[in-house]
């Protein structure tokens, strides 16, 4: 059996990140006199970060493949602008617009992916060009002004909450129920993994650690559900995020395509000579990013209730930073979905906490830069030590 210290050593990155997140949350909770964890602020925190997390999922795949996408902020803007123009100026049904927008996102991803994968132009250059072009198209589409407002249904994508099927009298029972179901599900999954590992004679974590981990996780889920339930319940966008995170975590760790992406990022030639169609795979990685960026664009537009020329400005940096803070390697082949999500939350909590404290946008950027550097330093330090 593994001792606790070797366990920690082997997973120092994951636990380190989580500890950092908790520490930052506690810090702001104290500094803001408890505002951070208030249900209304917690809801806000989720809404504010939903688009960064959405895009971090796609960006992680691109970074793991060994590339980068600088254009996502501009794609957010151009898709939001297109959706706005179609809904407001052309009066197209918003459901149709959502479908069109996601297709346009895929097309943008395909365009950039074609240049990177098939024409072999470095993604830094292709997406830098995209960064400029799509921002320009946004301004052209909107003729330099904001377009809005949107119908209720569209707005609900990001600012709606799931309905309560029970009459909880100010307490959202459905939310609490989902929390309970989620907890049970997580415990069941972990137990299954553990059993499987034991069956094949692999080392497992000590039982007390298993209990402690699941107790902690359950407690966190329950507290979070309780806080959300005592406000308006779970936001729609959070459900969307849950589904996306679960799907991408599963895809990266359990499927053939996930395995191939990591192999491609780790050694593209070896992957190619093992029969992986790396060109096509890389192409689809960009298509995927385009769709997720389009989705993020819709969420942003729905949240602001208008399409603005500077939507998503600088967002690519938060997304990329989230991946690197979450342990992705700039040279490819390394990085986890959960890491990127935690990284995105860390940035989100920093943004939110500092805003509540009244720290200006100037110093917020300085702090975020320092956190990014420290996180990567932590990686490099650990890597050197383990060698």
């Amino acid at each position: 059996m593994k001792t606790l210290s070797t366990l920690f050593k082997n997973n120092v990155r994951e636990y380190g990140m989580l500890i950092a997140l908790v520490a930052v949350m506690v810090f702001f909770q104290v500094q803001t006199n408890g505002v951070l964890m208030k249900p209304v602020n917690l809801t806000n925190l989720v809404l504010q970060n939903s688009y960064v997390i959405t895009m971090a999922l796609g960006m992680l795949l691109i970074i793991v493949s060994g590339w980068i996408d600088l254009s996502v902020g501009s794609v957010v803007a151009v898709v939001g602008a297109l959706a706005g123009v179609l809904i407001v100026r052309y009066d197209v049904n918003w459901v149709v617009v959502v479908a069109i927008s996601l297709l346009v996102g895929a097309a943008i991803g395909a365009f950039q992916g074609y240049w990177v994968a098939y024409l072999k132009i470095p993604s830094f250059i292709v997406t830098l060009a995209g960064f400029l072009m799509f921002r320009g198209l946004t301004i052209a589409l909107l003729r330099g002004e904001s377009v809005g407002p949107f119908p209720r249904g569209f707005q609900n994508i990001s600012s709606g909450f799931i309905p309560d099927f029970f009459n909880g009298d100010g307490f959202h029972i459905t939310t609490m129920l989902i929390g309970v179901i989620l907890s049970v599900l997580l415990i069941w999954l972990d137990m299954r993994t553990r059993k499987n590992q034991q069956k094949y004679g692999f080392e497992v974590t000590p039982f007390y650690f298993f209990v402690a981990k699941n107790t902690g996780l359950t407690a966190a889920v329950m507290i979070f559900s309780y806080l959300m339930a005592s406000y308006k319940g779970l936001p729609n966008v959070l459900i969307l995020l849950f589904v996306l995170i679960a799907a991408y975590a599963f895809m990266t760790s359990q499927t053939v395509i996930g395995r191939r992406i990591y192999a491609m990022g780790g050694n593209v030639k070896a992957a190619m000579l093992s029969g992986v169609n790396t060109t096509r795979l890389l192409f689809y990685t960009f298509v995927n990013m385009g769709v997720l960026a389009a989705l993020a664009g819709l969420i942003v537009a729905a949240r602001l209730n208008s399409s603005t020329p500077n939507a998503g400005d600088g967002m690519e940096l938060d997304v990329i930073a989230a991946c690197f803070i979450g342990g992705a390697s700039p040279t490819g082949g390394v990085g986890k979905v959960i890491g990127a999500v935690v990284g995105a939350f860390l940035i989100g909590v920093l943004n939110n906490g500092m805003s509540i404290m009244g720290v200006g946008i100037d110093w917020q950027k300085v702090v975020k830069g320092i956190v990014l550097l420290l996180a990567v330093l932590f990686d490099v330090y650990n890597k050197n030590k383990s060698n």
């Binding site: 359990q254 053939v256 990591y262 192999a263 050694n267 070896a270 190619m272 000579l273 029969g275 169609n277």
Partner: protein
């Protein structure tokens, strides 16, 4: 002894969990070529890294005396300052700089930071002359072959006023002629009083040039043999290295050869960059069931290019020709199709093309055949664990667990992982490109055993190797390649090293069955 230039006393070096060197003593006399041999992981490179200061003083126990003075090197610049220069297996030249720029990198002929190009160039010309390399000092490294690059490395060492030259596997990637030239050079240096330490797996070379041979095994000095006093045979050295007699370097095998299973006809391939240069010309080869077919030839004869072009056009352009399996024409135009048609190619460069080094052993083994362990695109991890554990046991891969990173395995074990990957893809025809390069005698034997097992299961194996004894020892039939053409074919029992060399070196084509 006054003529001892280097003495390392009781060197012990610990790594977390392993004793890499255990009380090793090693000394080199003035003006001798001292060979250092041993299996992979015996501690040769570690010992040289201690000597050159890559592992600085304080990270090991023991003492180093160079020219009678005790040395405590903190880094490689300090050891170079006293005239100790190490040339690593992987060359450390900058590809897009010229020879002259590389020679004086870190040692520039400059005044106040401004480079004196005239002096640099003329000095370079002089040094190139000394190593017998006829190249302009302005040639870019990337435009030179590996053999010439190796000479540039040596010239670089000379530029540093070397007294003791350490060469780590200098001929591993050189062909016979270039190897010959390099060894000649070492003998010349000896005349001029420059001592050398030669680390090599090629025992014939060691035998040819070494004055003394020190054998390391499991981090300890086994013995030092004096070649000037006694006549040391290769078998004698091998006995010291493996600690047992290796009367059979190649495991015996009963050939049971069946019908032709794979055939390539009129195969033509052009160079991917220089489109008018042909790298394979009208190649016809066939492989029978249960047969090991050797592909002999010099480096650059086009063997790897041919193999890779057959393996799903992984190399070359304008490829023409037909491939047949069991008499039926098959489509092998992509790697994916080649694999599903039962063809596998294990590369000569396992680090760059064979493995995803930063991933686990198990992920590497299953990479080429993920379908086998997945249902509807979802990987069945318990099953993956089970099959990869089987391969670990069957091929005797030494790793702490199948979840260890490929990066941390020794060369021989990495090679076994590459082989496992292709065995797991269950091919009918397996092309092995230099499968034993840079790995030790014991691991080589194991790989030959694996080849034997494969053919006994009825598969066909193509073995590309630059070591003729290996080709002759393992194969049933041998093709000889030169300039992208098949210039000879013979059954292995009719072949001899001399005969194959004649085909390789003869200028006109000899057609003989």
């Amino acid at each position: 002894m006054s003529d001892v230039i280097l003495e390392m006393r009781n060197i012990t070096k610990l790594f977390p969990g392993v004793k890499a060197l255990d009380n090793v003593s090693f000394s080199v006399r003035q003006g001798e070529i001292h060979a250092l041999v041993g299996e992979n992981g015996a501690g040769k490179s570690t010992l040289m890294n201690v000597l050159s200061g890559i592992y600085p003083y304080g990270t090991y126990h023991g003492e180093i005396y160079f020219q009678g003075k005790e040395c405590r090197f903190r880094d490689i610049t300090e050891s170079e300052k006293v005239g100790l220069v190490i040339i690593h297996q992987e060359l450390a030249l900058i590809p897009f700089l010229s020879v002259a720029e590389n020679l004086f990198l870190g040692n520039e002929r400059a005044k106040n930071g401004v480079i004196n190009w005239n002096e640099s160039i003329s000095k370079t010309a002089e040094l190139l002359n000394r190593v017998g390399l006829n190249e302009s000092p302005n040639t870019l490294i990337t435009n030179m072959g590996v053999g010439k690059q190796q000479l540039v490395e040596i010239a670089k060492a000379l530029a540093k006023e070397v007294k003791l030259l350490i060469l780590d596997e200098p001929t591993a990637s050189l062909n016979e002629t270039d190897s010959e030239k390099l060894l000649e050079l070492l003998l010349q240096f000896k005349e001029h009083g420059i001592s050398s330490i030669l680390i090599s797996h090629k025992l014939s070379e060691v035998n040819k040039v070494a004055d003394s041979i020190t054998i390391l095994r499991d981090g300890a000095t086994i013995e030092t043999l004096d070649c000037r006093k006694d006549n040391i045979t290769e078998d004698r050295i091998i006995r010291g290295m493996v600690g047992r007699d290796m009367t059979h370097r190649f495991p015996p095998r009963d050939s049971n050869i069946g019908e032709v299973i794979f055939e390539v006809r009129d195969w033509n391939v052009y160079h991917p960059l220089h489109e008018d240069r042909k790298v394979s010309t009208n190649v016809n080869i066939s492989i029978r069931k249960g047969e090991v077919v050797g592909l002999a030839g010099l480096m650059g004869a086009g063997r790897t290019e041919l193999a890779m072009s057959i393996f799903g056009r992984a190399y070359g352009t304008r490829i023409s020709g037909k491939a047949y399996k069991h008499g039926k024409e098959i489509d092998i135009s992509t790697i994916d199709k080649a694999i599903s048609n039962g063809i596998a190619y294990a590369t000569e460069d396992r680090k760059a093309y064979g493995l995803v080094l930063i991933q686990q052993v198990k992920n590497n083994i299953t990479l080429a055949n993920l379908e086998e362990i997945s249902t509807r695109q979802v990987i069945n991890e318990p099953q993956e664990m089970r099959v990869t554990s089987e391969y670990r046991d069957k091929l005797n891969i030494k790793c702490s667990s199948i979840q260890q990173l490929a990066l941390n395995l020794s060369g021989g074990n990495q090679q076994k992982v590459v082989l496992s990957k292709w065995l797991f893809a269950s091919p009918e025809i397996l092309i092995l490109d230099e499968p034993t390069r840079g790995i030790d005698v014991g691991a080589k034997y194991e790989i030959y055993t694996i080849i034997n097992r494969l053919v006994s299961e009825g598969k066909g194996v193509v073995l590309i190797s630059s070591e003729l004894p290996e080709i002759l020892g393992v194969c049933d039939r041998v093709y000889v390649m030169r300039d992208g053409k098949i210039v000879g074919e013979m059954p292995a029992n009719e072949a001899s090293q001399e005969k194959v060399m004649k085909y390789i070196m003869t200028q006109q084509e000899v057609v003989e069955q």
